[in-house]
Subunit: 256 residues, 2 copies
Amino acid sequence: MKTDKILLDHGSGGKIAHRLIADMLIPNFDNPILSQLDDGAVFDMGEQRLAFSTDTYVVDPIFFPGGCIGDLAINGTVNDLAMCGSTPLYLSTGLIIEEGFLIKDLEKILNMMRIAAHKAGVQVVTGDTKVVPKGAADKIFINTSGLGVISEQVNISSHRACIGDKIILSGSIADHGMAILTQREGLAFESTIQSDTAPLNRMVKRMLATYQDIHVLRDPTRGGVATALNEIAIQSSVGICVFEEKIPLNDNVAGI
Amino acid sequence: MKTDKILLDHGSGGKIAHRLIADMLIPNFDNPILSQLDDGAVFDMGEQRLAFSTDTYVVDPIFFPGGCIGDLAINGTVNDLAMCGSTPLYLSTGLIIEEGFLIKDLEKILNMMRIAAHKAGVQVVTGDTKVVPKGAADKIFINTSGLGVISEQVNISSHRACIGDKIILSGSIADHGMAILTQREGLAFESTIQSDTAPLNRMVKRMLATYQDIHVLRDPTRGGVATALNEIAIQSSVGICVFEEKIPLNDNVAGI
């Protein structure tokens, strides 16, 4: 679809979003590192291989069952770094806060960021806050960027899926998305669905300790598992066969 | 002043903003690197000393005489890294775009980011875009984070100002602020004031090539030179004497 304006779908993580990034960001900032299009950039700096990643969180509602925008922002960048096979070490955070935002909510969010950073074993080493006039932003937006270090033997990339590779899901799908949706729409269900936001770096560390030559890792976010698999299929030039009945799904999520 | 809500002044770069950061960010993320409160975090990674910095740009208007939010975002983080005495190398960018934003304006902004990155000699290696519903953000916000590498002999910090140090300004003050103000308020002046947004990393490189033991560097942004000097005075526990008549000021800026 041709359009001269940015649409909400441009941010959905689906095909249009892919085209927006491919059509606009890559030609402008073209370089071999960016063009990899992984969850983070991977490059050498001196003797070390580093992963560098950024993500902005605009989730609405900002508080939801199982978490809030703050721990989500920490976990998201920790996980993007872990998905590059790196050990996440240092994070930055940039806050955009709407005038009139309650200081007690900000305290709650920062406290949940602190706990999440502690759980993941990362340090928030630099930060920035901007306040915009009432109506110029929706409550609070949080950017986190992060740095991790990659062991020499590890080489994980969405370009490395091969014929014969198996897909392993670490948990049930769609819990976070449905937690947000039910909260946002004020839908009442018998059991509240909790977001499964969590740092995955320790799990990845254990996986790499068991087997170093993992080809691809992905933390499905916008667009879910389907979009993640589609992106891997395109970037690795492989076909992926998914057995629907084998995808773990919690009963209350399946109910929706 | 006690308040239970975030005020616009919390983002002004003045005393209230200082208290917001000191009162809320530091206790939550307390670590020796963050507590330095320089323009960027400085730490060792393997054999190398790195600088890591983040900044979010919410400037209104997004296009102004002499630049736009895009080149401002690149130059700002390049300069924060340069002010740590580092050579800026890699940048990330996170965009928050309001639904309905014109694609041609986004193209213009990305193009100016590309030119600014090229001028500064840095690479944008990772990026993220989020689209929020109409009214949930004011047109576009841009976060940039960046990484630079610091030579062994360099030790620049806002804690290092000493008795006897001299202040050197690299140019006239308030050009950028007045360019934004006059554009925002639709004020008509005989001569248009241009923002002086520019990358300063090559200038810092030349300075360090001439004399390595520079104590403090600062790129005054919100709050201008006055706030920058106040922060240095506090962090270095020194008094600073400023001779107003020696501060370079363009005639058209002085006129306002």
